[in-house]
């Protein structure tokens, strides 16, 4: 049985994770590790072909050359989102080679990775440390995975690698275009997906790096997002992904009138809070409501001739239109959500590649997230102290990864536009099922039934005095919702087993998820 300790947020969390001691969450900004960063083993160019040709005939052979054996950690990345073929191919090859007990360290997982369940069932895969969505989330929630899942933010993943908390033995990077030396880019090729930023840490810190491409070009691959000097081998596959699935389904503007109302209220709030001024910056996540918020914002900017200095993506058609219309100087892109984003990245000098290192990394000498004037994010639950949950459903099932969500909370104004209930399930609760974001970093909740400002943000409360917006105490909105849905829900039933640890951005454990009952 996992030994639990109470952390600074009052949550019981595992004292050790998969055999390694873990640090309980201490509070925002309280954890200050010392020492030196992890480093990859020393290599010499002497060990690599002088002509720069690192092509290996097959993925299986490349994995063998990389020294694949039982118990290693293999990383892959989610640039191809739900169209990724590479992670599946890696573990299929491992299964064929009879290797067992691997740890998969993806930057995120998608429903297309449901095949990993079979690898866990037959022992090839021991456990997963990454986001757990769809079928994988269900599998893990039922307590069927052998090890404990570890959910980290994009920035936290970089931190874990730099701290040596996660040692990557083999990184396999899906590369839409690469040359034989291993220089790689995501912005072109038949499976173009935009950025490869999530693979940056892996390319620098893993013991062994394999680039897998379906579009091998003669040296040099220009531009190179991944430097060939960090790459051990290059493998050519027929296809690394299904490009029709790379575009995320959540990048459509919502047609739901209720979500449009929430998006509009959010934009009006930003306006009345004085955020929308010349030279400001914003980030809106994927998802219909966030996208619609960006559209309302765009219309306000147009009407008043206001220009942003930069917007952070998730880039998509709408941000690209703003860039090309001159409504922003730059898109600082973290991942590319549609093909307009990919095109713009190739064509527009103002469309700039970023990575979790530049934007989110705890061990960076500063990062971009804190510079943003306003960030708009989703959540599955928010409690009366503004604590937020983004990984589990209200019944405790693992549902989403953390993504850049935790990292973005550090913006100057963090707004969560959320429906106050979904079907019958209240989103505003007394205590979030799983704590992912501390309330002190969540500034504003916008629901269709009113806007709640965190009482700690006296400046915002002062600024919005006399506003015509429906600003209300969060407890009052919550009470209204409970009257609609027929009272507070029964407490969900959980098993004893801890199935996942939730990391804070600094590597400490902020909460954990238990096996679901029934």
């Amino acid at each position: 049985m996992t030994r639990l300790v109470e952390n600074a947020a009052g949550r019981l969390v595992p004292a050790e994770i998969n055999g390694t001691e873990a640090v309980p969450y201490k509070g925002v900004g309280k954890h200050a590790p010392t020492g030196r960063k992890a480093a990859p083993p020393i290599r010499s160019c002497n060990d690599y072909p002088l002509d720069g040709n690192k092509v290996t005939a097959s993925l299986t052979e490349a994995l063998q050359k990389a020294g694949l054996r039982d118990g290693l950690t293999i990383s892959t990345h989610h640039h191809l989102r739900n169209g990724d073929f590479v992670a599946g191919a890696v573990f299929a090859a491992a299964a064929e080679l009879g290797v067992k007990d691997l740890r998969w360290f993806p930057s995120a997982s998608f429903p297309c990775h449901a095949g990993m369940i079979e690898h866990m069932e037959n022992g090839v895969l021991h456990h997963i440390e990454g986001s757990m969505n769809g079928p994988l989330g269900d599998y893990c929630s039922k307590g069927k995975m052998r090890g404990m899942a570890v959910l980290r933010s994009h920035g936290g993943r970089y931190q874990a690698v730099q701290d040596g908390e996660v040692h990557i033995d083999i990184a396999v990077i899906a590369a839409p275009t690469a040359d034989p030396f291993g220089n790689a880019t995501g912005d072109r090729g038949p499976t173009a997906c935009g950025l490869l930023g999530f693979a940056l840490a892996d390319s620098e810190y893993a013991d062994h790096v394999i680039a897998v491409t379906d579009n091998l070009v003669p040296f040099p691959c220009i531009p190179w997002q991944i430097q060939g000097n960090n790459v051990d081998q290059v493998v050519v596959m027929d296809s690394i992904g299904d490009s029709s699935q790379i575009v995320s389904g959540t990048t459509q503007i919502t047609k739901s009138p209720d979500r449009l109302l929430i998006a509009e209220l959010t934009a009006r709030f930003c306006d009345e809070a004085g955020i929308i001024t010349d030279g400001f910056s914003f980030q809106a996540g994927a998802g219909g409501t966030s996208l619609s918020f960006a559209i309302f914002l765009r219309d306000m900017m147009r009407a008043r001739n206001i220009k942003a200095r930069f917007v952070r993506g998730g880039s998509n058609k709408y941000l690209v239109d703003m860039l090309e219309e001159g409504l922003t100087d730059y898109i600082l892109d973290g991942q590319t959500f549609d093909l307009d984003g990919v095109r713009s990245m190739r064509e527009n000098p103002g469309h700039v590649n970023t990575s979790p290192f530049t934007s989110y990394n705890w061990h960076g000498k500063g990062n971009f997230a804190g510079m943003l004037d306003v960030v708009v994010l989703g959540a599955t639950e928010v409690d009366v102290d503004f604590n937020a949950n983004v990984v589990t459903h209200s019944d405790g099932r693992l549902l989403h990864g953390i993504g850049g969500w935790q990292n973005c909370l550090f913006s100057k104004c963090t707004i969560l536009p959320i429906p106050s209930f979904r079907d019958r399930i209240p989103v505003l609760v007394d205590r979030v099922t799983t704590l992912c974001g501390p309330g002190e970093l969540v500034d504003v909740i916008v629901t269709e039934r009113g806007i709640a400002i965190n009482p700690q943000r006296r400046d915002l409360i002062e600024q919005l005095k006399g506003s015509s917006l429906p600003i209300r105490p969060i407890a009052e909105i919550k009470a209204e919702v409970e009257a609609i849905v027929g009272g507070q829900p029964q407490a969900p039933e959980f098993g004893e087993k801890v199935i996942a640890a939730i990391k804070w951005v600094d590597g400490t454990v902020i909460d954990c998820v238990r096996q679901t009952g029934g």
């Binding site: 009138p257 209720d258 449009l260 109302l261 209200s394 019944d395 979904r422 079907d423 019958r424 399930i425 269709e448 039934r449 015509s468 209204e480 009257a483 609609i484 849905v485 027929g486 009272g487 829900p489 029964q490 969900p492 039933e493 009952g517 029934g518």
Partner: protein, 410 residues
Amino acid sequence: MASKHPVGAAGQQGPQVRSDCWIEVEPRQSGGLDISLQSKVAGMYGQSIEGLVGEGCRVMGLDHARVTVVDQGALPFVLAARLEAAVRRSGHEPAAPFLLPAADHCGYASRPGRLRRSRLYLPGNEPKFYPNAGLHGPDGVILDLEDSVAPGEKDAARCLVRNALRAVNFYGSERMVRINQGERGLDDLDWIIPHNVHLVLIPKVEDPGQVTAVDERIRAIASATGRGEPVLLMPIIESALGAWKAYEIAASCERVAALAIGLEDYTADIGTQRTAMGAESFWARCQVVNGAKAAGVQPIDTVFSDVSDTEGLIASCVEAKGLGFVGKGCIHPRQIAEVHRAFAPDEVEIAKATRIVLAFEEAEAKGLGVVSLGSKMIDAPVVKRAQTTVAMAREVGLLGDDWRDSREED
């Protein structure tokens, strides 16, 4: 044991269904209640749902039955409505209707002269649109029992609309119900009148007798239940004959607060099609405006049905306002703000009306019989129109409480 009654079922099921449920009721001779529940919110509201079903069966005098609930996150008022509809369909005549306590927020009143710029249609048998409809700020919400409800679902829709009137907060919007035509429409009234419905829309009216029949039925229900006064009426003109008799219909009864036109049926009736220009309905729309005005009630225009065409909607509202209409039907919440903007007086109108009203008040204070502005004499009807404009501008927030002071400098 062979069951005496057939199985009754009501609601919606399937993967696309949200915020609704499917309930089957099979009455039995003995054995008590056998409730089985499958719900996406079972872990959170399972006990609550089973409690509600048990209570409902007790209220309706159904002691022995198998009840199956397949729930997709239905709110309590929806579960109650589906259960009652299923029980009725099973052949068991309820000892009493299954009414949950009426919420305080359902008790507010309306008045004949209130703003009716926008009215948002909600399909009567589709629960998912109810809880948030009022948040979009329509002047009225219409719980529709007529065209949006399939013939086989009229009974289920009555339960649902009645329960919605008792449970859902429409946040100050006028609470309207569109009843069915003819005898069925009169029977609809039994279900809704005691539950603080503000206004009843009567479809396809072409004779004043249809309105007076509704009036009489409301009075009968009110005197039997002690509830149901005052209820306003909005007859809808949807045929050549109706248009011909617009004035008689508008003037047929004290309860009539507004007269609306519905163009889909009207154009079909005169054997033509709706066009963007609308020449085919010009006469009928003018007839409705004039009939309504002659009877002292509000003329209300038809719905604009292309949700994606915002420009078209605005143009249509501007035209309607020009003809004399004071409101428009909405089939999507995003139309509401545009409609309100279009029907609001513009800055020039407000400035002019303010000057006239101030001049009138000044003349009155001085005991003058004649109002003049500059060198111009102002007639009484002009003053009246200006007063209406100022009142509307104040109601929609375009003029503040201090409008007299702020305008004196002009």
